[in-house]
Amino acid sequence: MKEKEGFVDCPEQQMILYVEKEDGQFGPMQTGSYITKNYINDYFTKRNNLVHSLREQISRREISPVKLFMVLEDLTTKELSARTRIPSRKIKKHILPVHFEQLSEDLLHRYAAVFNVTVEQLLKADPGTEPLHDESPKR
């Protein structure tokens, strides 16, 4: 890749790209993320739709907030089990509302810590507000 083709104006996500310089030498250039620059709004649309769909399933009592966070954070049952030290067979129960509602304080805290949310957010199935593209932190 030539240096002039590598530049992407995206201050929100900077990165190093290795390119061919004008003198034929290969080396690093600091540039921006192509996908963040062009498609970040698509990411937020899909994520918001997913949160909406999972919350509807919670309101229909088909799943619990544990399942919502597992899907949002791409965690398998085995992976969540290893992170929370809660057996997989119990997690499979906790993704159902009837069992989730009986969770102890300790188990709620363990789930919340792994999902990086407060217990209150876990109970409300609230993953927090995603910053809009224009409000995202600048690097």
Binding site: M1, G6, E12, Q13, Q14, M15, I16, L17, Y18, V19, E20, Q25, F26, G27, P28, Q30, S33, Y34, I35, T36, N38, Y39, I40, D42, Y43, F44, K46, N49, L50, E73, D74, L75, T76, K78, E79, A82, R83, T84, R85, A113, V114, N116, G128, E130, P131, S136, P137, R139
Partner: protein, 335 residues
């Protein structure tokens, strides 16, 4: 406690960038592509099913930790390493090293790095960065993905260091304890290339190396059956772009950085054929870049029918063919 004077540099990749920064700090001037190449970083692996992944995925670098181990073995550097069963012990060790003025690399789950924008975060237990100081309840971090040092809450670093799960960091820390005054790079370069060729051509595992690229090409057409819905499929297909370009590869799934290594290596080992191969790999990388852009485009347009998935498969299969030829030539060139 204050911040240790440390020359922060951006790097393409977290592990090679971290090792490079630490070696430079310790007095050994070496480039990131040279670290990556000597450590046989270039790789390919496809995982259609894995207990820790919710969807098929692939990797484009060798096993996390192997870069450090290979650099130690091939350059004669001695890294001091620590992992911990008790969190408190790990927390005290890090504080102690910083008090001694030692910048120290830490392995963490990327998800808890609160200086990273939310859309970039994922539960990946193999992110590496250098801790260079502590002020009040915040650590000062030199993370090679960022243009400047960043601040991280004490609690976030604790969560990241002691996350459980696949490849759990267990609070892992390392720093170079001994760096030779002078290093002859010739043998390490040749050893690094030899091992990379073996990994890409001969590892007897059906999902690794060239065989892994072919498996990826064959199985990607099955992805629609595995997705929850079209938006999920779109997300996973667009992740091909992220895995090849955005997750610290230097572009084209590390192919551009490895080409840079080969160009630098050609002069050191005095083998002009490596320079020709470096140009060829740059062109091969352009093909991977084309796959990245294609995946992003069809994902965004939700144009994910059988014809487009087959086209994606063909593009990947073509990379397998050209990389097989390339690595065979590379192997021959160092004999």
């Amino acid at each position: 406690m204050t911040t240790i004077p440390f020359n922060h540099n951006m790097g393409a990749h977290c592990e090679s960038g971290t090792i490079t920064s630490l070696l430079n700090h310790a007095g050994l001037t070496i480039s990131e592509p040279m670290v990556f190449g000597i450590a046989s970083g270039i790789f390919f692996g496809y995982f259609h099913q894995h207990k820790s992944f919710t969807f098929p995925t692939f990797i484009v670098r060798n096993r996390p930790g192997d870069m450090r181990k290979n650099i130690q073995k091939r350059l004669g550097v001695k890294f001091q390493t620590f992992s911990f069963k008790q969190e408190q012990e790990g927390i005290e060790k890090l504080d102690g090293l910083l008090m001694q003025g030692i910048p120290v690399a830490s392995q963490v789950d990327f998800y808890y790095m609160d200086y990273v924008p939310s859309w970039e975060r994922a539960h990946v237990n193999v992110h590496f960065m250098v801790v260079i100081g502590k002020e009040d309840s915040e650590f000062i971090i030199s993370d090679s993905y960022f243009p400047k040092p960043v601040r991280l809450k004490e609690e976030s670093l604790r969560r990241g260091r002691f996350a459980g799960g696949n490849m759990s960091p267990k609070g892992f820390l390392f720093y170079p304890q001994y760096v030779p005054a002078e290093v002859d790079l010739q043998k390490p370069i040749l050893k690094g290339i030899q091992k990379a060729c073996f990994n890409m051509l001969h590892l007897p595992v059906p999902f690794i190396g060239i065989k892994g690229i072919r498996l990826f090409a064959k199985r990607v057409v099955d992805w629609p059956k595995l997705a929850r819905d079209t938006e999920h499929l779109s997300h996973e297909v667009m992740k091909i772009n992220i895995l090849l370009e955005d997750q610290g590869t230097g572009g084209a799934g590390f192919r551009f950085m490895y080409a840079t290594f080969l160009q630098q290596a050609a002069e050191i080992v005095n083998k002009p054929e490596l320079k020709e191969l470096s140009s060829e790999l740059m062109t091969i990388g352009d093909g991977w870049r084309e796959i990245s852009l294609f995946a992003a485009r069809i994902g965004k347009n939700r144009d994910l029918g059988p014809a487009k998935m087959a086209e994606l498969s063909e593009l990947i299969m073509d990379r397998a063919a050209v990389e097989e030829r390339f690595f065979k030539q590379l192997k021959k060139s160092i004999k």
